[in-house]
Amino acid sequence: MIPVEYYVGLSAILFLIGGIGFLVRRNVLVALMSIEVMLNATNLALVAFNRQHAQAHTGQVLSFFVIAVAAAEAAVGLAIVLAFFRLKRTVRSDEADLLRN
């Protein structure tokens, strides 16, 4: 069997990739997809720790709720992207400067 540390290390690497993508990319769609990568990484860590402490199913149930919140976040986020595109005709995040100064 594979030690839990391997799964946690993979989860950290995926979270790192998602976070760097969120910070570097200015396409709002890609930023939202980077958030999904990070949420998936946390889900992997939750399920891996639940496999190590297998007396209860707390980690798996928590990752179930994370998936539900991710679905809600994707729906609202993409609606905001559509509204933003209707206003500015672009999906670049640095064009969202109505509240600037």
């Binding site: 839990v4 690497i13 999904e36």
Partner: protein, 205 residues
């Protein structure tokens, strides 16, 4: 197919359904090969998601990563979460992203320029440094790896998780349904525009 799953230590065998899951007869190599395959695919998918200039390729990379992580969930005895991962993420969220990308057409791809390069890459370098520090700490505990313990035959099944969801976690479960309703109403209200922009054009009545 069942033989393959037995080899990968995914499902407990029928003969010892009540006993703890034994070590696979072929040794740990099959499990390590499966983990390495899924891990490499997940990292490749994540890099494709954040690095590809075309958002459609990014969505395909996200799909690859989601399916590989579902495979890892299977190896961790989380069959129900793996199914939910495929249905909700691959079936709903990625399709939603693809809908929006197709709706925006060629405007979904933004040309890259160098404005604001220093703060963006500085923040990313700081984040990468913190992440590498965390990985180094993890590598120090890797010297004495903890093997996961024995589990019962119903670990991760729909039966067991359903019991937890409808007894201990009943209140969060109901609240998450309210959250989803609010999110749907909010998404429609935001995407529709203020004071029914579409209604004036006769698109909706």
């Amino acid at each position: 197919m069942l033989n393959l799953l037995l080899l990968l230590d995914i499902v407990p065998g029928p003969a010892n359904a009540a006993a703890p899951v034994p070590e696979t007869p072929q040794g740990p190599w099959m499990g390590f090969a499966y983990f390495g395959f899924c891990a490499v695919l997940a990292v490749v998918g994540a890099i494709a998601t954040v690095a590809s200039p075309n958002p459609i390729r990014g969505a395909m990379g996200l799909l690859l990563m989601i399916i590989s992580i579902a495979g890892l969930f299977l190896a961790l005895h989380a069959q129900f979460i793996a199914a939910i991962q495929v249905i909700v993420y691959a079936g709903a969220i990625v399709v939603l992203f693809l809908f929006v990308i197709m709706l925006l057409g060629s405007d979904a791809q933004t040309p890259s320029d160098q404005r604001g390069r220093i703060p963006r890459f500085g923040a990313a370098a700081l984040f990468a440094g913190l992440g590498l520090a965390a990985l180094t700490l993890l590598g120090r505990t890797m010297a004495k790896p903890k093997l996961p313990g024995d589990i019962g035959s119903d670990f991760g099944s729909i039966d067991a998780i359903g019991k937890v969801l409808f007894t201990d976690m009943l209140v969060p479960f109901e609240i998450s349904s309210a959250l989803l309703i609010v999110a749907v109403v909010g998404a429609i209200a935001v995407a529709r525009g203020k004071h029914g922009e579409l209604a004036e054009k006769g698109a909706v009545k």
